[in-house]
Symmetry: C2
Subunit: 280 residues, 2 copies
Amino acid sequence: METILRSQTNEVRIDPLGPVVMIGEKINPTGHKKLAEALKEDNYEYVKGLAEMQIEHGAHVLDVNVGVPGLDEVALLPGIVKRLAADFDVPLCLDSGNPKALAAGLQEAPGKALVNSVNGEKDRLESVLPLVKDRQAAVIGLTMDEQGIPTDPERRLAIAEHIVNRAVQLGIPQQDVIIDTLVLTVGADQSAAKVTLRTIELVRERLGVNINLGASNVSFGLPDRQTINQAFMALAIGAGANCMITDPRKLAPTILACDLLLGRDPYGKRYIVSTRKRLA
Amino acid sequence: METILRSQTNEVRIDPLGPVVMIGEKINPTGHKKLAEALKEDNYEYVKGLAEMQIEHGAHVLDVNVGVPGLDEVALLPGIVKRLAADFDVPLCLDSGNPKALAAGLQEAPGKALVNSVNGEKDRLESVLPLVKDRQAAVIGLTMDEQGIPTDPERRLAIAEHIVNRAVQLGIPQQDVIIDTLVLTVGADQSAAKVTLRTIELVRERLGVNINLGASNVSFGLPDRQTINQAFMALAIGAGANCMITDPRKLAPTILACDLLLGRDPYGKRYIVSTRKRLA
């Protein structure tokens, strides 16, 4: 099942048989003080720099989150989206907990954007899915609901199924829902990664939709997080995840190596070109 | 299915549900000029240093290969095995193409050694399996035969099955056969890693025996080999490989991270202790 995202003139295809799509996660002020300040001061150049850096390192899509306590996302998001869309010809992933901000942001996103995110909560589904439908966007669905994040893969699958069903009932094509199976930190719960990997397999097998993951949580609080994140990413891709919200500077090499190893990079061209550039 | 290897007083259990077992690959003069010279000069101290280094970095078993053109393996292997067994209480993996050298080496290996290797070739099975049986050793079976290394996972599985059947007919318990699914370089054939990963799944599913892999071939000729090797190792472990002939200095961190992520490292203790030691 193929999800197609579009910018002004480009398109990005997310497809289980194709290479992994990287969504650059760095335009997000959570835990990123400098960006929070830049947003407060309307310093767009800083945001632009983050976009540039991520595309340079291989991001195919840019996540855009401008949630800073005290700032009005509804006013802020569309302006940033508009400027990024004017400067960069890559699809955007609009990331907000505020449905009004998403609605305003989607007005300014050219092509076909991705909305980050809905989950199994009724309120969220009812407030966000209609926007996705109206703007013919695609949407990420997180496998959590009012009861939190299940520790049982079958329960996570059931939430994924519910999200897909609600979207389809509203007229959103099933291929425009990307399921995020979520991962908690393995330092707090040693089965955390296993549950996620099993959920990926179940969603791939039973729903066939594309699967997204943000992989850096998994190593929280542990030493040498990079090695854990790299290993987790490879395990997740092997299990069937094919879209990653990540810092491409840190994890693009591993992702490209996985594509190469899984036969999704003819003649290793992408891997070789990007590695030579990185090591130059 | 559990393979148990033993040294003088220790044992190593190889088990699909347990942590990955690392076989240190560095005592092998192929492409290692210094070691070849040390073996020619009967410089055991150099060999001892390689053993020490590998155990320090997490090797559970030591591969011992003394094949240098012009040297008599039959005379050399037992002496090296005897000295290593006296100095290090870890099981040994006797690695030779010469059945007489294996026979002589096995005489000096205490406990229960591993023999590296047989494959589907009739001559090899007939010359090596009886030694394994006599010494109650375990054996690695490579999925190749007179026709070479099949490019089809089902054909590799068929060879694995044949090796296991011949071993069992001779009275070797099935759990004492470890199948090595082999991997060719992905730079020469873009499906090379995929074929291996699929073979791992098939062997795991249909034969249930433990699965060994040497992972550094896969990246031959490509830039940043370490990233490819790390990613391949995680993909292989995710598919079901649970024994690795490797350089633990380079790949132990990734292997330990996979064990942690797959819930085989209670409280992350092994990962945390080894990482702190490495970064200290």
